[in-house]
Symmetry: C3
């Protein structure tokens, strides 16, 4: 593996190999890498969780990191082109980790440089390392991904993590994916074409809540709504609390890429169904596994 660009680049076998490396990292076995590497974290868009877990993953492998955590810290502010900034970083560091608001930014970077490029989320579609964390957490809970019913709830229109996850799921055989969203935040039609697993669409979480093994919640952003009343109505109807949990299967799990605002009530944190903190924690071993693949011996 040279680059990590798109969720759709991974074969099932590659994903399972990464999970297996992550398993052994969690048991305390560090993959063999040469520790004198420098990783550049090029975050044009801020993200504490993703930035910090990449930073820590690199450091736990004995690497050093450099880079920036917002566009304001770069010469892009002096109107330097993205290409020139990438050329610079790739001439200094051994690997580039890129976060950007534009679709295709990571792919473009990989065409400019010979150094490995890892997509830490770009545009509206791709966040492959997050999707690996999502699926790894599911596999951890159920021992498998095939055959599960997955409900994805909230903002399916703009949610990058949702699009990326749905794409990576095509490497597996989920029983069904329930897409739950208000009408104005439905999954864009073109995403449906590439799906090779059964799915349904609804705006009523109540209709599918008892059926899911995995409930994947997302943040609904106020600014997507022209009208605050409309926003509040949607927010309320998709809020997950202990009442929601009672209606779920006993072993069902709840995921969220975090940060969460009010989508999941705090009281849910203490239930055994809440797996979103574990999902976040898996960011370090998954990203260590990826670094070991692209920078390994």
């Amino acid at each position: 593996m040279k680059n990590v660009i798109s969720s759709s680049d991974f074969t099932r076998k590659e994903i399972e190999e990464i999970f297996s490396v992550a398993d052994s990292i969690k048991k305390g076995k560090r993959p063999k890498v040469k520790g004198d590497k420098v990783v550049a974290l090029a975050f044009f868009e801020p993200s504490t969780r993703t930035f910090t877990s990449f930073d820590v993953a690199a450091k736990r492998l004995g690497f050093q990191t450099t880079g920036f955590r917002s566009e304001h810290e770069t010469s892009v502010a002096k109107e330097e082109s993205f290409a020139d900034t990438m050329r610079m970083l790739s001439s200094y560091a051994d690997c580039l980790v890129i976060r950007h608001r534009y679709d295709g930014a990571a792919k473009f970077a990989s065409q400019i440089t010979d150094k490995p490029v890892i997509n830490a989320g770009d545009g509206k579609r791709e966040h492959p390392t997050q999707s690996l964390m999502d699926l790894y957490t599911i596999r951890d809970a159920f021992g498998k991904i095939d055959g599960l019913t997955i409900g994805i709830v909230g903002d399916l229109k703009y949610g990058r993590t949702v699009h990326s996850l749905m794409s990576m799921l095509t490497a597996f055989k989920p029983k069904r994916v329930h897409l739950v969203s208000p009408l104005q935040l439905m999954l864009p039609r073109n995403f449906l074409k590439g799906l090779n697993y059964p799915y349904s669409e609804t705006s009523d979480l109540g209709k599918v809540i008892a059926d899911v093994d995995v409930l994947y919640a997302t943040r609904i952003q106020k600014e997507r709504f022209p009208d605050e009343m409309e926003y509040n109505k949607v927010k309320e109807s998709y809020r997950i609390d202990c009442e929601t949990v009672k209606r779920m299967k006993e072993r069902a799990i709840i995921l969220h890429a975090l940060p969460r605002i009010t989508e999941i009530a705090r009281e849910v944190d203490r239930t055994k169904n809440a797996k979103y903190f574990e999902q976040a924690r898996n960011g370090v071993p998954i990203r260590m596994a990826l670094f070991s693949k692209v920078l390994g011996a």
Copy 2:
């Protein structure tokens, strides 16, 4: 020692042990620690000096650091809760160092996580690592803390370092503490209750200047005063210059947590009484000693 939360948590014996480790660090002996640790510096409130000395202390022990140096770099900007941010960091790193504007932030964090938490200053009261530096510098100069007369001058109402120092002093037996401040910046009454050493209050620095062994100056912030003339009067009356030094005991020392603006004239820097730069320098060995206590073998 697991956490470093409050100045009042330390016994005299613990403080003396930390001083003794710091002594040997200053002589070039590095405490034994496992170097593969990652420390998260979570600074919700900016502070160059404290941030940098914690950063360097960790690195001089062979640790790596991660984290952020202002709230703007975090998902708190996306309205994530402090608790969720702490959960994330504690799942990535081996130790949390927290700076926050709210009282109790570090304590709250320590209740959420199993990892050691160090308070790098929170709210209006606690800055225990600064107080250790303060007392260590006094002990270095006099070989003791007991029996000394200490004058604390300036903003005693809002000054976090003052409150923290006065609390840690209860582990020792100072002869007397002179509290020198304008009326509107006097020490809050509830702080006086916990004191087990003699103290006096005055607004006239001249009355006590010849009596002190230690003069602890603080920054007086303009924004505390409704009226600029009032501010300027206070600023002038507490300004320490070479004339002030002449009225002090010959061996008396001057401390300041820095940054100083105009409270201490530059001319004082060259006197042998000025110990504030040494006090700042002691930040690294004291914090190395603390890291070795909470993360040591």
Copy 3:
């Protein structure tokens, strides 16, 4: 060598020694240094390229770094003096790398501290490590600096890199330096006094383009012009594209300290004359060589 303050501090012999260390670094030989050093990067003025290459250079030698990348991250925002900030950093770290908008900032810092100070660009005149990269890239292309004709084009009035390069060139014997700029951006008269090599001044790039071995382009900043039309005219007349390259000597090279905006057309990147990316890449070995000189065994 203790400090790196000014381009004029270097003898020809010292420059050639640094180049020779950089040569062996590029061949994969790391200079012998003790890896337990901490370098403070004190960037009061932002600069991605310079900051990152210093950061990576330190880390590739096994050092750790600390510091800040903009004034807003420091207590200067609380009105702390530059001198006090420098005292603090020098008491924590083993070496200071300083970037500042004021002339003499690095020199002033070196007078305050016993630790080595490296000037990473200050004021309108000095950027000695950039000049070393510039000359190293020229020497790499031609095997020498003596006897070459160098054209410097663009903003010669405010361009720090230009002033610094012209100063360091006095250690060599260039055949001639052509200074090409619009009238309002000519080299300040006092700079001409110190030059010990032949030079000419013109505002017409066409007149000298066929004569130069090295074309050193600079960014022309819009804000230097009272009138946008004037700016656009100048910008056009100094823009380097493939037509320009055709009129140059076959082996001539093009340099630019980057970031470039429109001064050099993208199409030029693919010509063998374009050496500005290599010039940027040389930042790491040159700065590693400097660190090894000031912090070496």
